[in-house]
């Protein structure tokens, strides 16, 4: 098992002419950490990854691996493993030859290459597939070959660029499980880039949310979900009801009364300087009679969505203002009717006041 490498970005920035792909960014990733970079396309996450791989020459700042500056080192001398979105397997080589490629480039003796390839194939449970061509494998199998090829030379750092993006949903979830186990098995540091928040949250130890070339927030997935620093992070991770704040009034040290653009006046915790109130759908209670919550509104159900394991109600509580409530579908009997008059409610602690 390899020891993972520490990865550090020191003021790393990239300009393409007048376009800023990445504003000067500082970030430290611990040895052995599974770190995900999450963001919409064009947020700078691929630039960050490219700078580590050596495909993107930064306009400023440095990339350090275990304290050593690798900014100017060409890709082939960085000893980093990388898994690409479309696997990038060599179509004219067999599975075994694909995995042997990095070992051949390192001019290892033939017997050693054979041993290592066999071991790598067993690690990704593709023992009988050595002589197949990549096109004869399923997407998931190809992805495992790509993993084996990137890890066969024990790189201390693995880069993954949307590696599950080309797989269908069920397979993607299986592969997430497999990637986590793979990470435990190899011990390398993983820098994982994706735009899929569920994927990042289910695997990463920590993650960074990027937008417009800036890291908006860094932290463990649950922390980012529960304590988003701004409305972009709140909206990007999971669902959120958002109200724009018109006027804030301090009632007590920990209670605010907020007049919102959408209409309702709500009680919340936080600072008076925020501009939006964010409310997670799972924190909204919905019932035929008013629930015992600090914020309570009567309304009418305008939409019902049955998802796996939960039901989502959209409730109109004022003209042009709806609140989404998510209820775990424990008992099938409690489904409320469409157009039914109901009450939604939540406590002040459930509502987060955030800067836009």
């Amino acid at each position: 098992m390899t020891r993972g490498a520490a990865l550090e970005f020191a003021g790393l920035g990239k300009q393409y002419g007048a376009v800023t792909a990445l504003r000067p960014t500082d970030l430290t990733i611990a040895p052995g950490e599974f770190f995900a970079v999450l963001g919409p396309s064009g947020s700078g996450k691929s630039t960050l990854l490219g700078a580590v791989a050596g495909f993107v020459a930064p306009t400023e700042g440095r990339v350090l691996i275990d304290g050593a500056d690798i900014t100017g080192v060409p890709p082939h001398r960085r000893n980093i493993g990388m898994v690409f979105q479309n696997y990038a397997l060599f179509p004219y080589l067999t599975v075994a030859q694909n995995i042997a490629f990095p070992l051949k480039m390192r001019r290892l003796p033939r017997t050693e290459i054979a041993t290592r390839v066999t071991r790598a194939l067993e690690m990704v449970r593709l023992g009988g597939f050595a002589e197949r061509m990549p096109a004869q494998l399923s997407g998931g199998q190809q992805q495992r070959v790509a993993l084996a090829r990137a890890a066969v030379y024990d790189p201390p750092l693995l880069l993954m660029d949307e590696p599950l993006g080309a797989l269908d949903k069920n397979l993607r979830e299986d592969m997430q499980e497999e990637l986590r186990q793979f990470h435990h098995g190899v011990g390398a540091t993983i820098l994982y880039v994706t735009h899929d928040q569920q994927e990042a949250a289910s695997m990463a130890d920590r993650m960074a949310i990027m937008n417009h070339g800036v890291i908006e927030q860094i932290g463990p997935p649950h922390e980012l979900y529960e304590r988003p620093r701004n409305s972009f992070v709140a909206r990007f991770l999971g669902e959120a009801n958002m109200f724009a704040i018109l006027q804030a009034e301090k009632l007590s040290p920990d209670r605010l009364r907020l007049a919102t653009v959408e209409g309702p006046v709500v009680l919340a915790c936080g600072s008076t300087t925020g501009s939006v109130v964010c409310l997670r759908p799972e924190n909204v209670s919905i019932a035929a009679t008013p629930p015992a919550r600090e914020n309570c509104f009567p309304g009418r159900i305008v939409d019902i969505v049955h998802a796996a394991g939960s039901i989502r109600y959209r409730v109109a509580i004022a003209p042009g203002c709806t609140v989404t409530a998510r209820v775990t579908a424990e008992r099938r009997g409690t489904v409320l009717p469409m157009d039914g008059v109901v009450h939604v409610g939540w406590d002040a602690e459930d509502a987060l006041v955030l800067p836009s």
Partner: protein, 272 residues
């Protein structure tokens, strides 16, 4: 309209289509058929239709050193042209498709331009240049001339091959420890090999069939088959011309078949 009338009309339409198609094929193939048939004549002059089909003039041509020399010249010049065009065409295709610089797009068009240009214009430009360089009437001069018109073909076939696969393959090779040169040898080359083969054959064929540049740039010592053919047409019109034309035709046809076979393989390869 009755069913019978409709059926009759459809029959007439089909007959017209068949007739048109036949005329079209005859129109396209007639010159070829005439030349091939004339090559088997037993007369002393070009005659059509031939009275008997014999190999008399094939023996005559195979015994004349000048024709053999010209054929050997054509093969040498064609091979050299294909080689130089492959190198230049591949390098420029790599630069234009992988370079990702906006100013490379017009460069790509410039590289293809000699293909559209009348060869005589290129010849007029090259002739004094070759004189100045002291290369006139040399093999080098003909090869340079032919390379100008053959490189676009390699450029086009190799560019298509390069666009046909994900650039991430080369990036992957680099992260796996291959420097730029080894990434080219181990990844790019295997991925573009059918494009290279097709481009090389087409470049050879262009050189092998080219007359105008050979007229300007070759000498009696370096004359090619098309050039010698031209001279014979202007001076002594014997069935030898038809024989050589038929042989060139057969050879070119072989090259085209090779290209077709490679195309089919190239089309199957990425999926397999």
């Amino acid at each position: 309209m009755t069913v019978r009338a409709e059926r009759a009309l459809r029959l007439v339409g089909r007959a017209c289509t068949a007739l048109l198609l036949t005329l079209f094929v005859v129109f396209l193939l007639a010159p070829v058929v005439v030349v091939v048939l004339m090559s088997f004549t037993d007369q002393l002059y070009l005659a059509f239709p031939p009275t008997r089909l014999v190999l008399r003039w094939y023996y005559v041509v195979s015994g004349q050193q000048r024709w053999l020399n010209a054929a050997w010249n054509s093969i040498q010049i064609g091979t050299a042209t294909a080689t130089v065009s492959l190198v230049l065409g591949t390098l420029s295709a790599l630069a234009v498709t992988r370079g990702a610089r906006p100013w490379l797009v017009p460069v790509g068009s410039l590289i293809v331009a000699p293909m559209m240009l009348p060869h005589i214009i290129i010849a007029i430009g090259l002739y004094p240049t070759m004189l100045d360089l002291g290369l006139s009437s040399s093999y080098t001069a003909v090869v340079i001339g032919h390379t100008v018109v053959a490189t676009p073909l390699v450029f086009i076939t190799v560019s298509a091959a390069l666009r046909g696969y994900d650039h991430a393959l080369e990036l992957a090779a680099m992260t796996l420890g291959a420097n730029a040169w080894r990434a080219f040898i181990h990844v790019t080359l295997p991925m573009i090999r059918s494009g290279l083969a097709i481009g090389g054959i087409l470049a050879f064929a262009v050189s092998f069939d080219e007359l105008m540049l050979a007229l300007f740039l070759a000498s009696p010592r370096t004359e090619t088959l098309p050039r010698l053919l031209w001279e014979h047409l202007a001076q002594t019109v014997t069935p030898a011309i038809a024989v050589v034309a038929t042989l060139i035709l057969a050879f070119t046809l072989l090259l085209l078949l090779a290209v077709q076979a490679l195309r089919r393989r190239g089309a199957v390869e990425p999926a397999a």
